[in-house]
Symmetry: C2
């Protein structure tokens, strides 16, 4: 069955192995059977990997027919040779598919600072091109995994005024995950017809509340990129304010689904938390407070231990926001208010402790000021996170 | 023998218990036998604890005779009652010592959001006042510990043109440690005569390269404060440019000694690293890069695992500094250069791996631009850190 990126009409995918991972396929191809509008969002990390530089240039025209992705090696900090290798991946894909080179995007994920075995990679690209399949979405999602425990795919069908369209996607985790554009590799496909500018705007809006609102470890990867391809194979065009809004909500739902899977599959994740900040007067301050908590190692350790240690939440917020002392904030954990205007208030400590033993938590902070509300979805910090990241070069 | 804060002439200290810690004394008194100039540096966290607010007001006059400190409970997020309790600690100390209340500073460290057992605390203050001892420095350093594995004291004697003076100090760790003023509780004493303004300037300069250049977990405590008391009991005054510089260097040495002990005793610390950033054009960028690495959980996990994963170092620097792509940086680990102008360079991987197995590491990053150099001293992230912070409310 067609899952993930192959759920929309007109897309095919395949995978092959080039020996960059200890086991399994590590090269994925995603191809549209017709011209497609394309949009991309890239990491803000200044140590951007070669494929990021190449794809940023490639996507400027607003269209793409194929995406080639490898896992195992990041092709980052690889200098001139890395750029040559990324262009070789583009050329090999274009050759194998009979496409202009300008229609191919490239992405990589894995270990930084080691060169690609480029001959093996181009051979794998040719092999994958020979087995492209409209049911290949699962294999492609599998092939882009690194330390991920499971492959991440999402799909949705949405009714527009002129007919229904499909949106699908895949993403990889599971480390170097923080909300700073674009936080992971992800590829989203749709058989709707969408103009490139509109696709780009809708993708950015979707990422803002999905991939930019999650955190595993507060680290911004050198390789992050999210691509969206819209090939129009459904025959339905996204046009008119209402359809644009409906389509945008569906795109956001797919991106949020993938982003939340990334957190749930975060390295060593045992609990996840939805943290809402309201007030603060402006979005920027609310986001700063939200990130400060989501990335605070003491908060994340307490969460792991089932310890309702709200003092660490106020410490994280107070340390992150500039301004006068004292900071009057309200804090609730699992709906139980523990702090009002910056001071502890009586609450049922046993009920609170029982409430934080589950796998899904909710924290809320309310700051002075109105208008802003932001949400971040993050994971705990466990022994297993340390083990994964202490014992393996990733 | 007189250690730590009692090493300089004219200081006495004592400890007593008020039951806030599971075991051991948790109230410490430090007293000068004569008037002393006083300076203080306080946390920038907006959720500042009650003792921070009280001591900030008390120290405005530039003099203090006594410091009362409790561990076990932070007296933070305790509202109006917390302020009353902090003032009660001041009043009880002044009463017991026969001092004006304006001459007493107060500090607390421990769990956030729980009220002090103030009657027990004031009783302990009275008990400690009855056993003040010029050899009480060790007992006081012991009493301010929370999760610290060992008490932290330092002492130095320095020759000035008019005679020798002594400087002593104590500090507590071991969590919520990041370089953002003042990063821990610390108290520094000297029997030199120093004018309050000069003492304040010298203390700030010393902290800038000591307590503000360390990181355990990137968390800024609600209770940080560093006090310095100069009582002139040596009969020697710090005056004249050369003596001021000599004294300033000695003060910095004591502060650095204490700060490095805090890192070595960081929760779960198994390795420490001195990380130097050169270039970057300005101090601010160099410091941003230094902190980004010192607080990066992937860097710290790799360090714990003895993994020379320099890709994580470049990822941390590249993610922290705004500016154009690509970022040309050089990276060396233990003197072995692994990256030049942003690209991997050949190196002996076995030698590199062997080099990072020891307890003390050195990383170096060189950025484009000249003039700035900054150093940060930080600890790894271990299973033990997670255990300590997941299992205990601190």
């Amino acid at each position: 069955v067609a899952v993930g990126v192959c759920y929309p009409a007109g897309f095919a995918a395949a995978a092959a192995g080039a020996g960059m991972k200890p086991a399994g396929d590590d090269v994925a191809l995603l191809v549209s059977d017709r011209p497609a509008a394309a949009a991309g969002v890239f990491t803000r990390n200044r140590v951007a990997a070669a494929p990021v530089l190449v794809s940023r240039a490639q996507i400027a025209g607003g269209s793409a027919r194929a995406v080639v992705t490898n896992s195992g090696l990041a092709n980052a900090c690889t200098g001139r040779r890395g750029l040559d290798d990324a262009w070789s991946m583009v050329a090999a894909t274009a050759d194998a598919l009979g496409l202009p080179a300008g229609q191919v995007l490239v992405a990589s994920t894995g270990v930084i600072g080691r060169p690609l075995p480029i001959d093996d990679v181009t051979a794998a690209i040719a092999a994958a091109a020979g087995r492209l399949d409209p049911d290949g979405g699962a294999a492609a999602a599998e092939a882009i995994r690194t330390t991920d425990a499971f492959a991440k795919t999402a799909a949705i069908e949405v009714e527009l005024s002129a007919g229904s369209v499909r949106i699908g996607g895949m993403a990889k985790g599971a480390g170097m995950i923080r909300p700073d554009m674009a936080t992971t590799l992800a590829q989203i496909t749709t058989d709707a017809a969408v103009a490139p500018d509109a696709l780009s705007a809708l993708l950015r809006a979707a990422i803002d509340v999905s991939f930019n609102a999650i955190s595993v470890d507060g680290c911004t990867s050198t390789n992050d990129c999210v691509f969206a391809l819209a090939n129009g194979a459904s025959g339905t065009t996204v046009a008119g304010e209402e359809d644009v809004q409906t389509f945008g909500r569906a795109l956001t739902a797919v991106a949020s689904d993938l982003a939340r899977q990334v957190v749930r599959d975060g390295e060593g994740t045992t609990r996840v938390c939805t943290f809402t900040v309201t007030g603060a007067g402006d979005d920027r301050a609310a986001r700063t407070a939200a990130r400060a908590v989501a990335e605070n190692v003491l908060v994340k350790c307490a969460m792991h231990g089932g310890d309702p240690n709200w003092g660490r939440i106020v410490q994280a917020v107070g340390g992150a926001l500039p301004g006068p002392v004292p900071l009057a904030l309200d804090v609730s954990i699992e709906g139980i208010q523990v702090c009002s205007a910056g001071a502890a208030i009586p609450h049922d400590e046993h009920a609170l402790e029982a409430a934080v033993q589950g796998p899904e938590l909710e924290y809320e902070v309310t700051l002075a000021g109105s208008g802003a509300e932001t949400e971040v979805f993050f994971s705990d910090l466990s022994y297993e996170y340390v083990r994964v990241n202490a014992e393996y070069t990733t």
